[in-house]
């Protein structure tokens, strides 16, 4: 039994300090995942905290034989992100405008024009495809975990990932 498994077992038995250690292991990754998807620091913090709150409540039902804890955590975060994006569709429209603000514009020039374009292309994908790209390329989670988070078979996920990349290429080519 590794350290995480021991901590999980303790947390399942209502040990809040053990859950605190789990929190310290994952909060940064969950935050950046939320931040990339929400593009708003306040919302990302709220969703990150809510993810751990829900994980705590659902922890007694978590079974290590049915998937990894990180898949369990990312799945909660993904659902909260999708709920949030549904609630705040209008804010998402604001986000496209926000992309063009002076501050972002300058920082994007500083970084890379191609990154900015790719971000824009990813934003044009639907929620599911966007999550697949983020989890596969940026979080570098194993296929089995992503399949669990998204709710797909691993084989279908591989095919879909190829298609999404192809779609991203097309979007970028159109921009040129």
């Amino acid at each position: 039994m590794d350290d995480l498994e021991i901590l999980l077992k303790k947390a399942q038995e209502n040990d809040k300090d053990a859950f605190g250690k789990i929190y310290s292991l994952f909060y940064e990754r969950i935050y950046r995942y939320c931040k990339f998807n929400c593009q708003n620091q306040e919302t990302a913090i709220d969703i990150c905290q809510d993810t751990f709150l829900r994980a705590w409540k659902a922890l007694p039902g978590f079974d290590t034989t049915k998937g990894t804890f990180q898949a369990f955590l990312y799945r909660i975060a993904k659902n909260l992100i999708i709920d949030n994006s549904r609630k705040k569709k209008e804010e998402r429209l604001d986000y496209y405008e926000h992309l063009e603000t002076k501050e972002d514009f300058i920082s994007d020039i500083d970084k890379d024009e191609s990154i900015k374009k790719l971000k824009g292309a990813i934003e044009q994908l639907n929620q599911k495809d966007k999550q697949i790209i983020v989890l596969h390329y940026f979080e570098e989670l194993p296929g089995s975990d992503i399949a669990k988070i998204i709710g797909m078979h691993e084989g279908a996920l591989r095919v879909r990932t190829h298609r999404i990349v192809k779609k991203l290429k097309e979007i970028l080519e159109k921009q040129i």
């Binding site: 940064e28 935050y31 950046r32 709150l53 409540k57 890379d112 990154i115 390329y137 290429k169 970028l172």
Partner: protein, 209 residues
Amino acid sequence: MNIEDQLQNLKNEYQGTKAPNYLIYNGWLELKLKLTDRKNNFLSAYLKKALIFAALVLFVLATTAKVSQAAKPGDKLYPLKLATENITSFVTGDQTNKIENRAQEIINLTKENDQNLDAAIKRYEDTVDASKDNTSEKNRQELRNTLHSQEEKLKEAETTSPEDQKLIERALEKTREVQGEIKGARDSNKNEQEGENKNQNSSHSLEGD
């Protein structure tokens, strides 16, 4: 620049995202305050699951029992129908429903020329025999009335299906036999009571003398 390189660049930027100070210094403290004590929730979650499961089992059982009421002899659900009837008659103390159902099965099978008729008549005989023993003194008259009405129905079936006459006659004989036994028992009870009354009267008259 190809797409893979672009994704790699974005990944570097993505992974460079740092948590804000608020989350680093206050995140856990804030969250800890919100964590509810889960022991009661844990129990109630199990209790909820158990109740839902029990309700589902009851629903399935009730539905199956209800469906089984339409089962005919030889059907897979027929034993369940008999079991349900046994439970009902045990709880209510009423045996007449079972007799009526067995007699109706005989009548239905004669109409359909079913091979299960012989077994159905045997079952009818057993039910009638058992009902005699399982019926209280108070309900004997009701049992006799039921048997009488079944006798009429079976006679009618005999005329409409003459090829099954021999078999139906067996059921009729059993019906009459048990009716007779009930009547005999009632008459002997009556005689015993009359005898007791007479004895009491004669002892009273002797005391008077």
